[in-house]
């Protein structure tokens, strides 16, 4: 594996290999044996804001013993109008791997075509976020012992959340049964649903009603209010698609609630104390999974 650009480039075997490597990395954290990339330099190039992805890639690099360089677009030559192509070519000469988040779709594949060193996609616009998908699959497998046959509900703004597009594909690959719950105006785009059904024979149901009966995993994402011109409408939708204690009270006892974070109003803080809320544990899994990604991309 040289680059990690899209979940769609990976076979099930590739994904399984990342997940088993992540399990090994989790055991190595905090031990001297984890310094598998000592002497290497990783460049973190984030052209958009990020907390978890940026920090967990930094943590993963440091746990592996690699040095990390952080790139700030506002104080770099990008602010003077330097192209992405030139920026990538230049930083490719300084580092052994490039981790890139960029607002334009396809930008990371474009960068990978130009760079000699491995390139890892940390989110390209509304397109892909493959390391988040690996974290989600790793978390589900760790919590439930399997992915195949699980009933997974994806809830929220399924139209704009890139993590949900990649996740549906990953869940389909592993044989989960998926229910998509969103307001009609925020439904996931048909192309990815069709592709997942055609490639994996996945059962995908779309609805606007929340029902958690028989649900194994509830994966919630934020309603992206900034995309609404009518804030009143956004607030109204947010209230209807809220996972609060009243909803959780009647949910299955072994349900796992996941969220890519940041969460705002869609899950109120009182739910954080429910033992079924697993999103902080999920975020923590970002480190071993990204260690596995860095290691496999750099060392092969």
């Amino acid at each position: 594996m040289r680059d990690l650009i899209s979940i769609r480039d990976l076979s099930k075997k590739d994904v399984e290999s990342f997940l088993s490597e992540a399990a090994k990395m989790e055991k190595l954290i905090g031990t001297p044996k984890s310094e598998l990339l000592k002497g290497k330099v990783v460049a973190n190039m984030f052209f958009e804001p990020s907390t978890r992805t940026n920090m967990s890639f930094q943590a993963a690099s440091k746990r592996l013993g690699a040095k990390i360089m952080t790139f700030y677009p506002n104080t770099s030559s990008v602010a003077k109008g330097e192209t992405l192509a030139d920026t990538v070519r230049m930083i490719d000469g300084y580092a052994d791997a490039l981790v890139i988040r960029h607002p334009l779709e396809g930008s990371v594949r474009f960068a990978a075509d130009l760079a000699d060193n491995p390139v890892i996609n940390a989110g390209d616009g509304g397109n892909q976020h493959p390391t988040q998908t690996l974290i989600d699959l790793y978390s589900i497998k760790k919590l439930k012992g399997k992915i195949s046959g699980l009933k997974v509900t994806l809830l929220g703004d399924l139209k704009h959340a890139r993590a949900m597009r990649s996740l549906l594909y990953g869940l389909g690959m592993f044989g989960a049964e998926v229910t998509l719950v969103s307001p009609t105006s925020l439904r996931m785009e048909e192309d990815i649903i069709r592709e997942t059904k055609e490639k994996f024979g996945t059962s995908v149901t779309q609805t606007s009603e929340i029902s958690l009966k028989g649900c194994d995993v509830l994966y919630v994402c934020r309603i992206q209010k900034e995309r609404f011109s009518d804030q009143y409408e956004a607030e109204k939708i947010q209230k209807e698609f809220r996972v609060d204690l009243d909803l959780v009270k009647f949910a299955p006892k072994d349900l796992a609630i996941l969220h890519p974070l940041p969460k705002v109003d869609e899950i109120p803080p009182e739910v954080d104390h429910d033992p079924r809320a697993k999103y902080f544990e999920q975020a923590k899994n970002g480190v071993p999974v990204r260690m596995a990604v860095l290691y496999k991309c750099i060392k092969g």
Partner: protein
């Protein structure tokens, strides 16, 4: 009384264009070649196969494979007739290629190919074409 259009001696006739798509085929040709000779667009001609069809005739232009591929996006059933000395010397159907490179722009306004010097590539997936960069899928006529 049937409509008569003058024959061409040297050039290309594109036949079996789905009715309504002829104007766009002519647009592709006029943006790809200098059209100094006679050009004719026949719309809604009777067709045994389609009921109605469009036909484009252009004199002095012999279309190449790249342009034929682009025409295939909007007129997948079209046939190309190369005319030399008043006779058809080559006749073939346009073919949708397995991938299209550097031919058309990506319609996704957020695709990197619309911002940097990145040649577009579209990969055929059944009835659709997927942009190699932004991974969005499009119907062929959306790309033409």
């Amino acid at each position: 009384m049937p409509l008569e259009v003058q024959r061409i001696n040297e050039g290309t006739v594109i036949d079996h264009i789905a009715a309504g798509a002829g104007t766009r085929v002519l647009q592709i040709l006029s943006s790809s070649y200098p059209l100094n000779g006679m050009a004719a667009l026949i719309i809604n001609a009777p067709s045994k196969k389609f009921g109605r069809k469009d036909i484009v005739k252009i004199e002095g232009v012999f279309i190449d494979e790249k342009i034929a591929n682009r025409i295939a996006l909007i007129a997948p059933e079209a046939s190309v007739n190369i005319i030399k000395g008043g006779k058809v010397v080559d006749k073939h159907h346009v073919e949708m290629p397995t991938s299209l490179s550097a031919l058309v722009k990506c319609p996704n306004p957020k695709c990197i190919t619309n911002f940097e010097r990145a040649p577009t590539t579209f990969i055929h997936e059944g009835k659709y074409l997927r942009c190699r960069h932004c991974e969005r899928v499009f119907k062929p006529d959306e790309l033409a």
